[in-house]
């Protein structure tokens, strides 16, 4: 049978063999943890502890500001030594709480086990919010917001994203293999919240072990394990929904417009911790990999550990890295240094050597149409980019720049090495600016 997928897409070398067979290792605590106050999409949290104060593991140290926001918690017990601007994965220094671990690593006494059967779905969502659970695929959108769709948009299909289509990354893969119970528990909890009729876990066919394991464990439950064709960006929300349900999320719309909600499998595990144990999201699995790393590993890391600590745990560097990327090579963000901390959305740390960097000079577009055929959103990247470069805002919008999901497929295939994604982002910013001005 032909596996389900979407139209377009690319097949980059996945390079997962470096870590896909390696069990998750606990990362030892460093001397200092820098927990940034903005780790999610939405308003940053506000510090609610003082310098010199002792905090317990899991204690709230930054409180949420507004609905689309979540609290931030101490990743270990220790003393708050500073609250100041520190280097941040977003590029510029941002407020962070600096904790000096006391070595006890003792949980806050407020956290307790709850029987989920005794909770209403609203109480359950509140627990998820308090635990600071965000989407762990990379975008870090607060999970409780997603879990509260308006009543006129009922969710009939709940979709779990175990695709992990980004090359190099294996953290979700290992989660599904080693912590399948936590994941499935979260799946059940989320199904309870949404009241969805159909529950699907989508997994790319290059993880047969995870597919087999989950199939076995879900044999009696009404959870469907859906193997998907190996193709990037199979894990992009809209493409995953199309593959699983055959529905297209309307342009400018959200998954709930077609009655679907999508969560990452790691998010499901975090929901389990939050609801059953009352434990906030203070750790995650992160794949530390790349040609510049001596011993690539899947690490269970605490939020706030510095990249240099992760590198050290993985045996150090082979040579000076040319590029430091948080996330995968297709959509991850380059970092200005190794003093940056990991945050809730950091699914991987990829270090490339200078020779691995794609750095051929930009040439003129030869209209080869590879980008058009690779685009999973069916756009004409080269045309949008040409308009965006000339700041022709109306034409940029007319060619549907705003529908671009910035997956990078077009830039990947472009033989002229045109920074298509960057140009389209540039164009999108111009379109948004124009819309803002029109409102004024």
């Amino acid at each position: 049978m032909k596996l389900r997928t979407f139209k377009g897409g690319i097949h980059p070398p996945d390079n997962k063999h470096w870590t896909s067979h390696k069990a998750i290792e606990d990362c030892p605590l460093p001397d200092e943890l820098v927990v940034p106050l903005s780790q999610h999409i939405g308003a940053p949290s506000v510090a609610c502890v003082e310098v010199g104060q002792h905090v317990a593991k899991g204690q709230e140290i930054g409180s949420a500001k507004g609905f689309v926001s979540v609290p931030v918690h101490a990743s270990t017990s220790g003393e708050v030594v500073a609250i100041e601007n520190r280097p941040h994965p977003f590029g510029t220094p941002l407020p962070a709480v600096v904790i000096k671990p006391d070595g006890e690593d003792s949980w806050s006494s407020n956290l307790q086990f709850t029987d989920p059967g005794s909770l209403t779905s609203d109480e359950l969502i509140e627990k998820v919010r308090q635990a600071g659970v965000v989407g762990m695929g990379g975008a870090a959108f607060p999970a409780h917001v997603k879990m509260s769709p308006p009543p006129e948009k009922p969710i009939h299909t709940l979709l779990f994203n175990g695709v992990e289509c980004e090359p190099y990354l294996t953290s979700d893969h290992r989660m599904m293999l080693e912590e399948s119970e936590r994941v499935l528990q979260g799946v059940a909890l989320l199904q309870y919240v949404y009241g969805a009729e159909r529950v699907v876990i989508g997994i790319e066919a290059n993880k047969p072990d995870a597919i087999a394991l989950l199939k076995k464990q879900c044999a009696d439950a009404a959870v469907e394990i859906l193997p998907l064709q190996v193709k990037y960006p199979q894990g992009a929300e809209k493409q995953l929904i199309f593959a699983a349900t055959g529905r297209e999320v309307p342009s400018g719309g959200l998954p709930m417009d077609v009655g679907v909600a999508v969560h990452n499998v790691s998010t499901a595990a975090a929901v389990t911790d939050a609801v059953m144990l009352g434990r906030p999201l203070i750790e995650r699995v992160c794949t530390v990999t790349g040609p510049a790393i001596k011993e690539p590993k899947n690490l269970r890391i605490r939020i706030g550990m510095s990249l240099s600590h992760l590198v050290e745990v993985c045996g150090g560097l082979v040579e000076e890295p040319g590029k430091i990327i948080l996330g995968g090579p297709m959509m991850g963000f380059t970092q200005v240094g190794l003093d940056v901390p990991v945050i809730r959305g950091s699914s991987g740390l990829l270090l490339l050597r200078e020779e691995d960097i794609a750095n051929s000079p930009e040439g003129p577009c030869i209209r080869c149409a590879r980008c058009v055929q690779a685009c999973p959103m069916n756009l004409m990247p080269t045309t949008i980019a040409a308009y965006a470069r000339r700041d022709l805002v109306e034409e940029t919008e007319e060619y549907c720049a705003m529908d671009c999901i910035e997956c990078g497929s077009c830039s990947y295939v472009c033989p002229a090495s045109i920074p298509l994604v960057q140009l389209i982002r540039h164009g999108k910013a111009a379109v948004l600016a124009k819309k803002r001005n029109a409102l004024l």
């Binding site: 003129p364 040409a386 308009y387 000339r390």
Partner: protein
Amino acid sequence: MADLLVILVSAIFVNNFVLARFLGICPFLGVSKKVETALGMGMAVTFVMTVATVATWFVQYFILIPFGIEYLQTIAFILIIASLVQLVEMVIQKVSPVLYQSLGIFLPLITTNCAVLGLAVLNIQKDYTFLEGIVFAIGAALGFTLALVLFAGLRERLELCAVPQSFRGTAIALVTAGLLSLAFMGFAGLVKG
């Protein structure tokens, strides 16, 4: 019927007014920066050409020939065409200000447009009947529109190209027009027009 088809095809492709007869170059270069305006201009020319053919045909056969003053053909035709274009201009200005703005100063250009005058004169020279004349006019106008729209498409694309500074604008437009005309020579001999 077959004759009419031959006249039509010949006027559109084989003896395209712009690309084979080289008539009406001024609006061809002037109003071909955008496909929309090119289409508008094509419509305007189609309308003017058809009406002008009707008017000049009547003037030729009911005034100039009966009175034996065929030598006044050119001046009479110009007079009629000029008034007609003025009329069209006024109507467009009132009915569609947007079209008027985009056609801008080029509408008056049809006034002294050699394509319209050339059509009227050719029509008489070829001894076309009234019906043939109208078909010829429509064919010529469609050919003009086709050339104009194709050319506008090319020029829109050139806007996004790295044309060297010294060739930008009219220079590259003329080179392109030449190449387009070369391509149209492939139609030569397709029908005896």
